[in-house]
Amino acid sequence: MVDDLRKYLNHLLEKVNGLHCILITDRDGVPLVRSVTERAPQLALRPNFISTFGMATDQASKLGLGRNKTIISMYSSYQVIQMNKLPLVITFIGSDNCNTGHILSLESQIEPFLKDLAAIVAETP
């Protein structure tokens, strides 16, 4: 499964101009599947960086606007889009001028694969 999924993520990565990587991790930033180009910043691939989203989405869900689903962080030369699919977290890292709407539209294309991955995370102690 993992090879097919990685190929599929690579295919999605090619579709969006300026997208550097797609990571599917658990809440603590431990990767299940990842598709990374050499342009992706290595610091942003660390579990310490990815796991902060888990806490941020929990706190953002307390603001009285319902459950937080996605956090988009814009940096000077990168953008990081993280989606709350707990127990999974999807992280997209792209260039600052990458089409954010195009990245967000990939959610529906990744969604069918998440059920099996979420079951794997739930079963792993």
């Binding site: 993992v2 101009n17 431990v30 990767p31 579990p47 794997i120």
Partner: protein
Amino acid sequence: MQSDEEDSALHSCFDSLKSAVMGCCYSICHKENDTQENIVNERTHLLEVPEQTQETPVPVASASTPPRKPDEQSALNRILHETATNVIDVGALGPYALEPGAYSERVRAYTARVALAPQPPPPAPRLLADVPHAERTGLLARPGLPNGDRDLITNAVKKAAAAISELRVEHHEDLVVPFRVP
């Protein structure tokens, strides 16, 4: 001033009297219970009933406070827990990092399980296929059509449009045809 002193003395006297009377009542009741405990009469229970279950239905007025205490405590704890979870305290979260050993162990577990997982469902077929980025940029960088070809296409489309606009349906027979029904 003197009347106040008298009042306070009277109050203290009443208080002591009250406590004495209550103590007497309690002692009397207690004694009665003690005497009845070992004597078999018409009020003696045939079956031994535990004291707690026997006492619970009796006090109606005072039942509101003592048995509900644990419920109130649990409700208060629940409210406290909910409030604590609803508070946004980013400073208290602190940095969180998985230990390297636990991290690598979990990576190994995920890799093994993902490899054993069933094949993912095939993506929905699309009418228009995407061209890879490199090929796309190459195609877009090519020079456009020559003018001769563009004129040829334009003229062909014009002729086709004219031909389509001249299409007419001419009827020569009746539109309603009677069937040969006897």
